[in-house]
């Protein structure tokens, strides 16, 4: 079915010349289906050059654009309102896109689901959402990466490089994805020295540059000497921390360029892997991959290269953990684990694999984190 559709579209576009050649060559139909040209739409919630979440996507899209037979259309700064529904519908009706990547969490429900219902022949791949079998349509799906693995590695490096044994984490909101990163970072650092603490500040929203700078300064005043973050654009935090003479571990994309002397390493997305999987399925007419997840091992996330100041023991420790993660023999969330109020969260002997859905509902901060999840 889908193959026929793609072939038809190919012929219509390339008019008679291509069709004639195809007939002459014979068997071209199969080839055309395998490499069916496709228009793919990408939608970002912020600017493409934010040194953060949106840039991580845009960088992968720039790679996708180089591949033959793929036309990518992009739209940035699209709010999570009807504007994104219109952007999606526009990509479908005006640009002929048959696969869309709405990349902001808030696009999923109700916006993407609404547009997907009206366009059953278009595939939708959402970044971060919880696609659920039976609840959400088959032409939709979600992909995400276990970036907490890279945050754990950040923590290991930060733990080695910190002199004050006090780390800082500036985060947007106390939601599961963010809490998971804070916890992984802290556990990574405490694997080096259990006396290390991470102080967390929630700014309240994804892009609050002024508050992020204030939080960085106030933590620096408290003696914190290594920072990391989970906000949409880490630029301000990286620059402020560097100005205060502190180290940072990056997030989303590499911010090394902004502060080469302060940037230890970072947790980066590698969206190209997920993009390729989903686009290939669409081009070859395979069923839409509805639930795509992966970590370091699958190539969904990657650590930034180490800065020149990172010590040899720090590199070695982080590389050892990374090797174990790549082998699949390392679990971050396993018992016994206590939260920062002393309550046992995971019983001794219990291990949560990264794919476990329980982890996607995380609502606690682990022992060693200074801060509260809010109400």
């Amino acid at each position: 079915m889908t193959q026929e559709k793609f072939t038809a579209e190919f012929n219509r576009r390339d008019v008679l010349k291509g069709a004639g050649a195809a007939l002459a060559l014979g068997g071209f139909g199969g080839l055309a289906a395998a490499q069916a040209p496709i228009t793919v739409g990408f939608i970002y919630v912020g600017p493409k050059d934010d040194f953060g979440y949106n840039q991580a996507h845009a960088e992968a899209v720039a790679e996708i654009k180089k591949l033959p037979g793929i036309k990518a259309v992009e739209e940035e700064n699209v709010p999570e309102t009807t504007a994104v529904q219109k952007a999606m519908q526009g990509m479908i009706s005006q640009d002929g896109a048959t696969l869309l990547f709405p990349t902001s969490f808030g696009y999923f429900d109700p916006h993407m689901l609404a547009v997907a219902g009206k366009n059953p022949n278009v595939r939708f791949a959402h970044c971060g959402g919880m696609w659920t079998e039976g609840k959400h349509p088959k032409n939709t799906g979600s992909f995400f990466g276990y970036i907490d693995e890279c945050q754990y590695l950040n923590g290991v490096v930060a733990g080695h490089m910190s002199k004050s044994k006090k780390l800082g984490f500036i985060a947007a909101k106390p939601i599961p994805q963010v809490l998971r990163n804070i916890n992984a970072f802290t556990m990574g650092a405490r694997s080096v020295d259990p006396s290390i603490t991470t102080t967390v500040i929630f700014t309240g929203d994804w892009s609050m540059p002024v508050k992020e700078a204030e939080a960085t300064n106030s933590l620096a005043d408290q003696g914190i000497d290594v920072f990391t973050m989970h906000v949409d654009g880490p630029k301000v935090i990286v620059e402020t921390a560097a100005k205060r003479g502190k180290f940072v571990c990056g997030y989303h994309a590499s911010q090394a360029k902004l502060a080469p002397a302060a940037y230890l390493t970072g947790a980066e997305w590698n969206w190209i892997t997920a993009y390729k999987t989903i686009i290939d399925a669409a081009r070859t007419g395979k069923p839409h991959p509805n639930f795509v997840r992966g970590g370091l091992k699958e190539g969904f996330v990657k650590p930034s290269p180490y800065g020149a100041m990172v010590s040899a023991p720090a590199k070695k420790a982080a590389d050892d953990v990374k090797a174990a993660m790549l082998k699949g023999s390392f679990d971050i969330f396993k018992g016994p684990l206590k939260d920062n109020a002393g309550k046992t969260i995971i019983e001794a002997g219990k291990v949560f694999k990264q794919t476990d859905a329980t982890l996607e509902g995380m609502n606690y901060l682990v022992e060693g984190v200074v801060g509260k999840t809010g109400a």
């Binding site: 739409g41 600017p47 493409k48 259309v73 992009e74 739209e75 940035e76 700064n77 699209v78 709010p79 999570e80 309102t81 009807t82 504007a83 529904q85 219109k86 952007a87 519908q89 526009g90 990509m91 009706s93 005006q94 640009d95 969490f105 808030g106 999923f108 429900d109 109700p110 971060g128 919880m130 909101k173 939601i175 599961p176 994805q177 309240g204 929203d205 996607e360 509902g361 809010g374 109400a375």
Partner: protein, 363 residues
């Protein structure tokens, strides 16, 4: 041509000339960026008003702007520069989303109306507070409305992410979703939701009120000269607070409609700057509710066109903001020509920057 006709013609010609000039400047801007201005103009038109899809796109974007613009226009007629419509909008949305957990509204159109009423009331109370603060305590309304908007947003976030949070909303904290029967659908099978109808009706009715009803006239007198109004015995404070409440009700209603027609619950996505865009719309429309309608559609058109421009020409999102900036600057600057545009006829006129399209418009 008699003076009255000249006035009317001028009111139409000035903004059109300004828009033409803005488009020319934008063309130059695009050309400097190494892209074809012709392509940009064509795409602008296609994206905003080129076909039925584009019209739906523009009108849909215009719907909330009409209501938020009224939150500036009506108080402005009473002499107040209120720029905090965003606060009324988010609280309206919150009231609308929260009401079902307080009372159980009937699952029909009447129930939806009740929710919208709550939204309007919340917005009205918030902006009326601005008017009261100014009249009773002498607090500057521009500053207080802006600061109150920040407070409203903080309150909204605190409640949505705290006490009112639906535990099932994990990574996108929201209030509990509103029952399907209470949601507002599209007009006649299109994508445009009924919010547009609310906007148009509010603009028409409030225009009639301002320009035809005695109380509307009294409000305009208060706005024109408060001391003169008080001297002839008009209840200044009451009229000002009522004007604020009406404006706030419109913005609150906009928030309620966004919740019922788009978001299905109150969450941070509601804080998208619609209230602030309304300020621009109202100023460009010179606080005239009737003119707010076409200006809001034009704004919706900018948004829709910007979307296409990005996808087809790889222009950054900010480029359409540049066009908007040119348009504002010239529309406001063109006011300087009011009363002079047709007076200089027959003489070698000092041509304004946007003269080239003048003959087509005037003829």
């Amino acid at each position: 041509m008699n003076a009255r006709h000249a006035d009317t013609l001028e009111s139409v010609a000035l903004p059109l000339l300004a828009m033409g000039g803005a488009l020319l400047l934008f063309g130059a801007f695009v050309w400097f960026g190494g892209k074809s201005p012709l392509d940009a103009w064509t795409l602008l038109f296609k994206g905003a008003f080129g076909d039925w899809f584009s019209w739906q796109n523009s009108l849909q974007r215009a719907a909330p702007l009409m209501l938020t613009a009224l939150c500036v226009a009506i108080p402005a007629r009473a002499g107040l520069v209120v720029i905090g419509g965003e606060g009324a909008l988010v609280l309206g949305g919150l009231a609308c989303a929260t009401l079902p957990s307080v009372i159980t509204p009937p699952a029909n159109a009447f129930g939806s109306a009740l929710l919208l009423l709550a939204a309007g009331a919340a917005g009205a109370a918030w902006i009326a507070l601005v008017g009261l603060l100014r009249q009773r305590r002498g607090v500057n309304e521009t500053i207080s409305s802006l600061l109150l908007a920040y407070i409203a947003i903080a309150l909204f976030k605190h409640l949505v992410e705290g006490p009112l949070r639906d535990p099932a909303s994990l990574n996108k904290p929201s209030t509990r979703p509103i029952a399907d029967a209470l949601l507002i659908g599209g007009i006649g099978g299109s994508d445009i939701h009924w919010g547009l109808a609310f906007g148009v009706v509010a603009c028409i009715v409030l225009g009639l009120w301002l320009f035809q009803a005695p109380s509307g006239f009294a409000t305009r007198v208060v706005g024109g000269n408060l001391r003169a109004a008080l001297l002839v015995g008009l209840p200044g404070t009451r009229l000002i607070v009522i004007a604020c409440a009406i404006g706030g009700a419109c913005a609150g209603l906009a928030g309620g409609i966004e919740v019922l027609a788009v978001h299905t619950s109150a969450n941070a996505a509601l804080i998208a700057g619609l209230g602030y865009s309304g300020i621009l719309v109202s100023f460009v429309a010179r606080h005239n509710p009737w003119v707010v309608m076409p200006v809001a559609v034009l704004f919706g058109g900018f948004g829709a066109a910007g979307s296409l421009l990005q996808r087809r020409m790889d222009l950054p999102d900010a480029s359409v903001l540049v066009l908007q900036g040119f348009a504002f600057l010239l529309i406001l600057a063109s006011e300087a020509l009011r009363g002079k545009l047709f007076a200089v006829r027959g003489r070698p006129a000092p041509a304004p920057a946007m003269a080239p399209i003048a003959p087509q418009v005037v003829s």
